[in-house]
Amino acid sequence: MAIDIQATGTLGIAFESVAGTYVAPTKFMPLRSESLKYQQDTYWRRVIRGLADNIGGVNGPSHIEGDIEIEVLDDVFPYFLYASRNTVAKTGASAPFTYTTTPFHGANPTSARTLSITVVRNGVVFGYTGCVVSSISMTVDNGVLVATMHIVGRDEATQSAPTPSWPTTTPFGHGVYTIGIPTGSTVLDIDTFTFQVNDNAVAEPRLSTTRAPQFVRFAQREVTLSVSRDFSSRTDYDAYKALTAQSVRILASKGANNSVQLTMPAAVKDDFTVGQLGSQGDLVRSDITYQATYDTATSKSYEFIVITAESIT
């Protein structure tokens, strides 16, 4: 096999019908990066038998883990929501469809919403199976909405090379954002944010005839948002001191047919740092970190609503 550059790589995903059984990709996506990896916890034989060397390795548990970083495309992102610790409701009689998430609280991923992820690196095909989204981190890079999904899965095997068909949808760039704090009150003093939901997925090996984990389970959920704002009054700062919950909404929209909206209905400021005075020319800014708490009115700590022409069934 000839050498090649990483630009020629591809990644495609498909929902599995039976968790852990490979399905050829049905959706391809342009990548910013990926780091999917087969990880094995090898038992190294360090027994006492007159030798100072490692005697050899014996199979230990294995699983799949790594990140997929993408530009957020409205036709791609919902697939990862389905594979995350959410139930996803789909509405709309025809395109565009609306996908609304509700986080759930159990240990198991929703059945039949595990992913097979096919990665081609220098023409070599890696088929990762039983994959779920453990965490989603969303931010902006030079105004473009990007997201990193941390993946935990079961196993990997080589597969036949797919023929990629690439979406031609475009990312959300500068000039498409509406940020409300609280949701109905648009603020214009935020230049960057980072949202993260981490459901702490763990591969669970069990003694059986396979090395792959028996299942992947979720654990405690942590939902945070950090923003940088121009500092102009004490109002928000005092709300921080009082632990006042606020709704926060970030909408990236290219119109009625294509949008991604994130809402934290009961966000409480965990940290509020007003920029220290130390540089004559710098703006006085504030760095705020929110913890999303469970909102009894909506039964959610956070929610994604994606409007797209993509029809996911």
Partner: protein, 155 residues
């Protein structure tokens, strides 16, 4: 003349889209070395383009003359996986089918019937044979084995 047919059920047909959706790039896929194609349509491609595609991908053009971009391979794999599960682990299969039926409640778009996973519900639920119970008056007092109801393997 070679052609490319794009029939992707997860994308809208190009002919059904409005101007905004077309401007966003919906309903169109791009295939390396071949070009851009509208979903739901069959488009002719030049032999020279096919040759470039073949050299760069290392693949032969289909003998039928039409490269079909669809989900048939994935659908077949899904069906086979479910068939295997149904034969080998009917309890897990039944639990999975019940879960899928509940998930369909979340889809009010009218497109849930396109769900290939749900469509391969063959004869669910599978009838699961009960463990044999000792005959009345028998001396064996061992209770019948309890079926394993752990469904985590399917999740």
């Amino acid at each position: 003349m070679a052609s490319v047919k794009v029939d992707l059920p997860n994308m809208p047909k190009y002919s059904d889209l409005n101007e905004d959706q077309i401007a966003n790039g919906d309903g169109v896929v791009q295939i390396d070395y071949l070009g851009t194609f509208k979903n739901g349509e069959t488009t002719d491609v030049d032999d020279a383009v096919v040759a470039v595609w073949s050299v760069n991908t290392g693949k032969d053009w289909p003998e039928s003359g039409t490269l079909v971009i669809d989900h048939s391979e994935a659908n077949e794999q899904r069906k086979n996986a479910l068939d295997d599960l149904r034969k080998n682990d009917p309890e897990v299969y039944n639990a999975l089918m019940a879960d899928l039926a509940r998930q369909k409640l979340l889809d009010t778009s009218g497109t849930a019937e396109n769900n290939v996973v749900a469509d391969v519900v063959v004869e669910a639920p599978v009838e699961i044979p009960q463990a044999e119970t000792p005959a009345a008056g028998g001396t064996d007092s061992t209770p019948p084995a309890k079926a394993d109801t752990n469904t985590e393997a399917a999740s």
